[in-house]
Symmetry: C2
Amino acid sequence: MSLLTVGTLAFDDIKTPFGHAEKVIGGACTYISWSSSYFTKDINLVSIIGNDFPKSELDALEARGVDLSGLEVKADGKTFFWAGEYHDNMNQRDTITTDLNVLDDFNPILPASFKSSDYVMLGNLTPAIQAQVLDQLEGNVKLIALDTMNFWMDIAMDELKAVIKRVDVLTINDEEARQLTGEYSLVSAAEAIHKMGPKYLIIKKGEHGALLFHEGKMFYAPALPLAKVVDPTGAGDTFAGGFMGYLAKTDDMSFENMKRAVIYGSTMASFCVEEFSLSKLKVLNEGMIEERAKQFQDLVNFTLK
Amino acid sequence: MSLLTVGTLAFDDIKTPFGHAEKVIGGACTYISWSSSYFTKDINLVSIIGNDFPKSELDALEARGVDLSGLEVKADGKTFFWAGEYHDNMNQRDTITTDLNVLDDFNPILPASFKSSDYVMLGNLTPAIQAQVLDQLEGNVKLIALDTMNFWMDIAMDELKAVIKRVDVLTINDEEARQLTGEYSLVSAAEAIHKMGPKYLIIKKGEHGALLFHEGKMFYAPALPLAKVVDPTGAGDTFAGGFMGYLAKTDDMSFENMKRAVIYGSTMASFCVEEFSLSKLKVLNEGMIEERAKQFQDLVNFTLK
C-alpha cells in the first residue's frame, strides 16, 4: 500500500551530553520516510527544501522507494534549520535556533498520483498546512495519522482542533495530551481526544514507551532500555514512520495488528536514538529489525499462574 | 514463609490537585505491611510510634496477620509526621514538614522470633538503622530487599553503599539510580549497581512502570493507566510490599516468578494511588487483585507474526 509522508526536511545542529552534531540531516519527514521505507517501498513524499540540501541525500531516499515528485526545491532559498540542546535528562531539550527559511513559503501541492495514497502520515507542521494537504486527498484514504506539538496548542489551538477532527490517529506526547484536554489522567485525556475525532490515540512517552488507545482498549509498548542513547532527535517521527510503514505493509487495522505496528514503531525509534541524525536508520536490515522487535516481546512477557 | 517488614509508621498530611488529607495514616512500613498481607499472613513488623497512634490501626494490622511484637511504643513521644504537596505533575512533590519525633530515637531491636525471618523488606530509613537490622538477622534469610531515596545519597552515601552491599534486591527510582551510579543509561546504571552488591535491581518509574534487572536480563512492568489517580503517596512502598509478599507466598526465586512478583507489586501500587492513605488497600480481596493483575497482562500482551 502507498504511504504519503508530509513534513520537514531540515538541517539540525544538535548538542547532547554525548556530543555535538553540526549541520546534520534532520526533519520530521526525513525520519518518517527512512523509517517507513523498511516496511513499504511505495512512499510519496511532500516537503520543501532550499538550494543547499545535498543531492546525495535525495538520491538515498529515492533508492529506498521514496517518490520525490512532491518535493518542492526553492532555488533561491535555504532549507529549514533547527538547533537544539539536550540536558542530562534527555527527555527535555531547549531550542536554540529555528530558521524557517523556505518553510515560510511552504504551500504543499500534491502530485495527482499522490492524491489517492492509501495511508497518510502528516508530520508536525502548522495545522493550516496539514489541513491543506487533507483538502487535496481524493478517493478512499484508509488511515490518516497526524503528529503535532505543544507549540501549536499555544498559538493555534482552534486550527489544530479543526485538523485533528479530520484524522484517524493522533500522535502526541503525554504532556501534550494533558494540555490538549485539560485532563491529568491519560485515560481521561484519551476519552476526551476520541471525542475530538481521532479513533486512535498514541501517547508517546519517550524513554517511558508509548500508549495506544482505541475504543476503550489500551496497549502499552515499553521503550527498550538501551546501554547507549546518543540523541533522541527524530525518535517520535521515526516511531510514526515505523508505525505507518508497518500498517501500509500489512493493510490490517485490527487492534492486534495496530499493537504490532506500535511495537515496530518503537523498534525503529530504539535504533534512531543510538546515533546522531539518521546514521543508524540508514544501516538497518530486516533481520536487525525482527531481532529487536523480539527483544520488546521478551522485555514485557510474563505469565500469571 | 515469614516476611520481616521494617520502616516507619507515620501520620501524613497530603495535598494533591484532587484534595487534602489531614493527619492520615502513612509510613513506609504501614504500606509495605498492608500490601504484603494480601499474600502472606506471617509478617513480622519492626517500627516505632508515639503515644498518639490509633489503637484501631494496630488492631487492623494484627487482624491482617502482622506480628507487632517488634513495634516500640514511646509513651512520652509523638509519631513521625510528614506533610507533602503534589503539583499538577503528580510524579513530583514538595516536602512541607518532616517531624521525626520518635523516629529520632529509633533503635530497632528484633524479637528473637523475628531474627530468622525468611524474607526481609527494609523500608526507606537511615542507612545506619537499616544496617543495624541486618546485624541482628540469624539463620538463612532467603532474600533481603532494601528501599532508599536520594536524601541518603546526598548526606550519607558511604553508609548507604555499605548497606546496599549486603542486600539482594535494591529498589530505587530512575533518578536515584542515575545519582547512585553517575550513569545516565538505566542499563549501565543497573550494571554498576549489580557490582555494588544487589543481584536484583528494581527501578521504579512511578506512572511509567518499573524495571527489573538480574544477570543481564530485563523485565519491564508497565504502570496501569488509571482514570483516577488521587494520591501517589506510598505507591513505592505498596509496590515493595506486594513484590516481597508474593515472593514470601510462592518461595520461588526463578526469574519468571520474580517477574510475576513485580506485576503483583505494580498491581497493589495501582490500587494504592486511587485513594488517599490506605483507604483502598484496606478493602481489597484476592479476586480484585487477580482481576487487576490480568489487566496488566492484557495491557502489554502482543504477538509478532
